[in-house]
């Protein structure tokens, strides 16, 4: 079972929580300056170290030996950043079975240790990622400075190397035009706010990614606690906003949500953006407790399956845009039909 098929806390608002640690190994240049020989040497050293720690849990994929579709699919599940899809340098990913714990080798830093969990699960993600980071430090020579802490290629990650982020569904605050105030305020407080696919992406389907900006001067645990505090405010506000919306415009809101569900259940052609936005509405329907709406886990699974890369991966061939829209509509429609059938039985 993959992590996104599991339940987590506060799933009505928070889709997933990620924690990653940036680490580098002494004696090597940072990834952007490594030649292919050193790239292979370092990769080998890390893979051997991970296998020494835990020979069974991880399997390795080399991005260079993967086709475009498979790489897109990894990016759609937030396992690599979209920028890595076209990278010439060979990057490798060590990943466990349910895909909630991974080590990305030679991204911007030598190691990016990442844990991802469904819902709002900062503690679980933190513990899992930190345990692996600490364990790796016992078998690898990690670059760490007395004064600056863990050294990273970019000075924005130095210190703890910790980045904690949550993906939030915020249709209520958007409806009430509160988002820009909250985003401003978050930015002033030292947090980064981005769209669904991270850096440079727009805010799609009312999804926001919030993460810590400061990585130095506080312990990783303090940063996590701060993040939890902020997010709990945000979650509460989003719930209030939804309540307010529902009280104010019940019929309009119901109409919007049920229309989206109808599109997903009936369309023959559906583009990624439209499907994504309709699923966002369905998610809200579920959160508001409407009858006959699928679970968060199913909605998230569908969201991952319908990505441009993932849909082609599922079909097992390269598809043009129209073919993708057909395959996507078919997959979603089948899912909703099965869901309704299962409910009746």
């Amino acid at each position: 079972m993959s992590w996104y098929e599991e339940h987590g806390a506060d799933q009505d608002v928070v889709i997933s929580t990620r924690v990653r640690f940036a680490r580098n190994i002494k004696g090597y240049k940072f990834p952007h300056l490594l030649n292919s020989e050193k790239t292979a040497e370092l990769t080998n050293e890390v893979v051997t170290a991970v296998q020494r720690l835990d020979p069974k849990s991880f399997h390795m994929v080399e991005l260079n030996s993967m086709n475009l579709i498979d790489k897109q699919s990894l990016a759609e599940r937030h396992l690599i950043s979209p920028q890595l899809i076209n990278s010439k340098q060979n990057k490798s990913l060590l990943i466990n079975q349910n895909e909630d714990l991974s080590v990305l080798i030679l991204d911007e830093d030598h190691l990016r240790i990442q844990a991802i969990k469904a819902g709002f699960s900062p503690d679980q993600a933190f513990v899992q990622a930190k345990n692996l980071a600490v364990a790796l430090e016992s078998v690898l020579e990690i670059a760490c400075d007395q004064e600056f802490g863990y050294l990273t290629a970019c000075p924005t990650n130095v210190g703890t190397g910790l980045r904690i982020s949550a993906l939030l569904h915020v249709p209520g605050l958007e409806y009430l035009n509160q988002l820009k105030y909250m985003i401003d305020s978050l930015r002033r407080s030292g947090f980064t706010v981005r769209g669904y696919y991270g850096e440079g992406s727009s805010e799609q389907g009312q999804m926001l990614q919030i993460s810590n900006q400061i990585t130095l001067g506080k312990t990783d645990q303090e940063l996590v606690n701060q993040f939890k505090t902020i997010l709990s405010v945000f979650i509460k506000q989003e719930r209030e906003a939804r309540k307010h919306w529902y009280e104010r415009e019940q019929i309009k809101l119901q109409d919007k949500i049920y229309r989206s569900k109808a599109i997903l259940s009936n369309a023959y052609l559906i583009g990624h953006e439209e499907a994504f936005n309709c699923l966002s509405d369905v998610r809200l329907g579920r959160a508001l407790g409407f009858e006959g709406f699928p679970d968060y886990t199913d909605i998230l699974t569908l969201t991952y399956l319908i990505g441009v890369g993932s849909i082609q991966k599922k079909e097992g061939q390269i598809l043009n845009s129209e073919q993708r829209d057909i395959a996507r509509a078919k997959l979603i429609k089948k899912y909703f039909a099965d869901f309704i059938n299962n409910k009746d039985h």
């Binding site: 079975q97 305020s185 990585t215 312990t219 902020i230």
Partner: protein, 198 residues
């Protein structure tokens, strides 16, 4: 120390508030911080009344304190210096935004200090090793059935409930034997790891 609110849990969040220029620090447990502090005016956080939805910015996160370490001043860099380990110059960093290697941090030490001051509000890493207080590590990793039974067994023995302990011991033996003799277990886990790609 104990949480100043409930006096039960260990405090693990330090809350700084600034109300009308008066700064106060509270030590709270994460539960109390979440449950109480945020929405109580006593902690300086204005709640979010509905009427304000149509107003403007009302969001402030008083719980977040940015770093306020002493700043480095007046740093200059000799542009001809190269990092002995990777050969990069400071101007290379200016182009890519990335240093060349961990050694660069010593090579360009002074200018990095002031850069980190700007980015993070300070440049001194806090390496206090905090054992996470609010994390139940046991919970993170689910126990197998046998592990669960073993801990039950220990409990029963401690309570001197030997009859029940014997039953649990038998059950453990049974499970251990079944696990060993069932080759399907091994095959299944192999298939699962192969087929995970989907």
């Amino acid at each position: 120390m104990l949480c100043e609110k409930c006096h039960i849990n260990e405090a693990n969040i330090s809350v700084k508030t600034n109300i009308h220029g008066v700064t106060k620090t509270y030590q709270l447990c994460s539960e109390c911080a979440q449950k109480q502090g945020l929405f109580q005016s006593g902690f300086g956080f204005e709640s979010f009344p509905m009427s304000n939805y149509l107003g403007q910015a009302l969001f402030n996160f008083p719980f977040v304190t940015l770093n306020n370490q002493p700043k480095t001043i007046g740093t200059q860099i000799d542009k001809s210096i190269r990092c002995p380990a990777c050969g990069q110059k400071y101007t290379d960093f200016r182009k890519t935004g990335l240093f060349g290697c961990p050694e660069c941090y010593s090579t360009f030490h002074d200018v990095i200090c002031s850069m980190l001051d700007q980015i993070h509000g300070g440049h001194i890493h806090n390496d206090t090793q905090i054992v996470p207080q609010n994390i139940d590590v046991e919970k993170v990793k689910p126990l197998t059935e046998i592990e669960q039974l073993k801990s039950e067994l220990k409990e029963k023995v401690q309570l001197e409930q030997y009859e029940e302990a014997a039953l649990i011991r038998d059950k453990i033996k049974e499970l251990t034997a079944a696990e060993k003799s069932n080759p399907a277990n091994n095959i299944e886990s192999e298939i699962e790891s192969e087929g995970d790609e989907k």
